[in-house]
Symmetry: C2
């Protein structure tokens, strides 16, 4: 298996753009990534596109817009992990030696597709009973509070931190800071989760150009190497168990660290799936950034802020950068690439050499995720 | 890159089953494939699922039903090539050495999802002008008639042949023969195409278990080797050109034959994308089964019937076996595997050693396809 590098990334500012076509969202991200890679369009041999709600050849649509046709195109859907699934698809074909260069794209337009709530999936037993995402995370939060004494204030601090970070990210959906009191005082969505503890919906796109590591230096300096690529689905039909633990997340993290030959202590920066504040706290523990039960203390002590021991979501995370489903996984990759190149401007994590991205997608069966993806990048 | 084999296939009879759940369609196909492979469930490390209209983690849904959870699952969509895209995804991860064993699944439920016509994509310029699939193929048919003297009778014979074949396929949606007069006399859909020259909608599922060729003999005898796997998208934005030729199909066929080290003369049997009768004739030419323009004569002279020089669609093809979009590509693979193993019963192509599957998906941009996939299998 060959080593694979990321040589170009691009991302449009996330937001709500109901007047733009789907293609107009994706195209600029692709153009940026290809330009950033310093590579000719004719070198790109394959593209994977992550998208959840558009349907029907979203990748071909966007690539037609930029004139990148005639290559292999695959559209993938894996709930919130769709973008990182696209990245892994391109990675696997380059690692296999099928191709030398490929493009991973994630694009989502929620502003025009979702006018009210996301339609419930009536076929799913748990969803039909009301176990939608905010409810699921709220249950996890209550359980974490019970078991470990995690406080509402600690959870709110995740939102405060990520909104603070996103002020320095010109591509974030929001650029507004909140105090802990404001976060706690916002509308209750599902107790203990308040509005500012839930990620927004929005539109967005991100792209990355990958190539075989052995030829990456031909195209640009500072290629970033993919040290680990892991994608797993949950053991969704096991008996009910501790909601604060994730067997899926644990297995994915273990496999990623093994593949990279690295541990959590080697990480300099991470982009973690903070669709809800409690999620980031739970994922701290899953990823080994702190022992189980100590996620609340980790955020409270400031270790995951920029400048802290292990900054998490310097981009602003899903909570403030935004979460256009299919785009998120690739946008996380773009942020880590910028961080490892030292191009993150005022949100730069100084001297970052190793970064991790983590997505937890879906909730089929209510408890565990449909797809957890972890990538570890190093410069 | 490692050689990959197919060691198990499964498929439910295609038809219209509005009373079954989506999961109940997919699960039996998966169970059959795993049983056919003679492999333990715990050996399966990855699954790709091809599906077009269900949306939202269709693979995880079906796999939960059979208890196959905790592995990597990827959902892919590539119009009519979704199933073969799933096969290729699993192929690539095994070829790369990431995994040893994987499952490709295709499943579609059209009877409950499409109550009238398939909704038009209003964003697509050509589609908005009425260039839907039957119209596109009708234009191709008219052009082929003009250029090469292809007749309505020759086109109708494709339907006659494929319905004749499907009488011997217990998994086909239809088991009814038609005379040429009946085909020509059925309702006009888009002149010159009549009803019996257009594939039906329906529900279906198919699955295949793949493994590294080097370990295939441990699990079962007669493993079938994947000699070529090709997936390409169309050059959708080139200038208008001869509708009877397919640059996309030509490139995919050339690449597949090169990869396999074989030519059209080596094929013993093929499953070809006959969504419309003229399609099969065009694809004869693209695949090199006859020179350009001679597809009409090839069918008229009986060369593509079972017992002919190169039998095409012994399963009954999309026209009579049915075309549940995401399932089709994997069902084609199942048919060729049965043929190469000598297990096709009364529709067996005697002594078949090399077979080809071909899908042409989508029509973004109206002219060329969104995804053409070709696999060449040999025993």
């Amino acid at each position: 298996m060959r080593e694979v590098a990321i040589i170009g990334v691009g991302m449009i500012p996330f937001g709500k753009f109901p007047d733009r076509s789907f293609e107009e969202l994706g195209a600029p991200a692709v153009r940026q990534a290809v330009e950033d890679a310093g590579i000719g369009w004719d070198r790109i041999e394959v593209a994977y596109c992550g998208n959840v709600i558009r349907g029907h050849c979203p990748g071909q649509r966007v690539l037609k817009e930029v004139g990148l046709t005639g290559i292999e195109v695959v559209n993938v859907e894996n709930a919130c992990s769709s973008g990182s699934t696209a990245l892994r698809g391109v990675w696997s074909l380059i690692a296999a030696g099928v191709y030398d260069v490929g493009l991973a794209l994630g694009v989502e337009q929620m502003s025009t597709q979702i006018t009210g709530a996301i339609p419930l999936d009536q076929d799913d037993l748990e969803t039909g009973q009301g176990l939608i995402m905010p409810a699921l995370y709220a249950m996890r939060a209550r359980r974490h509070m019970e078991m470990y004494g995690t406080t509402r204030e600690q959870m709110a601090l995740v939102s405060v931190k990520n909104h603070d970070h996103s002020v320095h990210n010109p591509r974030a959906q929001y650029h507004k800071t909140f105090t802990m009191e404001q976060v706690l005082g916002s509308a209750v969505i599902c107790d203990p989760l308040t509005l500012y503890q839930c990620c927004p919906t929005g539109d967005g796109a991100a792209a990355a150009v990958l190539c075989a590591r052995e030829i990456a230096d031909r195209f640009r300096d500072k290629p970033v190497t993919i040290a680990a690529s892991v994608l797993l689905s949950g053991a969704t039909n096991v008996e009910p168990r501790d909601l604060t633990a994730s067997d899926l997340g644990d297995r994915a993290a273990k496999r990623a660290y093994e593949m990279a030959g690295l541990g959590p202590e080697d990480l300099d920066v991470a982009e973690v799936h903070d669709a809800f504040t409690i999620g980031e706290i739970l994922h701290y523990e899953t990823l080994g950034l702190c022992p189980p039960g100590e996620g609340g203390r980790l955020i409270e002590e400031g270790h995951t802020r920029i400048g802290g021991r292990i900054p998490v979501n310097p981009s602003g995370g899903l909570l403030s950068k935004g979460h256009p489903l299919g785009a998120t996984g690739v946008a996380q990759i773009a942020e880590i690439v910028w961080q490892l190149r030292g191009q993150a401007g005022p949100r730069q994590v100084e001297g970052a050499r190793v970064g991790l991205t983590h997505c937890m997608g879906g909730g089929i069966g209510g408890v565990d995720g449909a797809a957890c993806s972890i990538h570890i990048l190093r410069r």
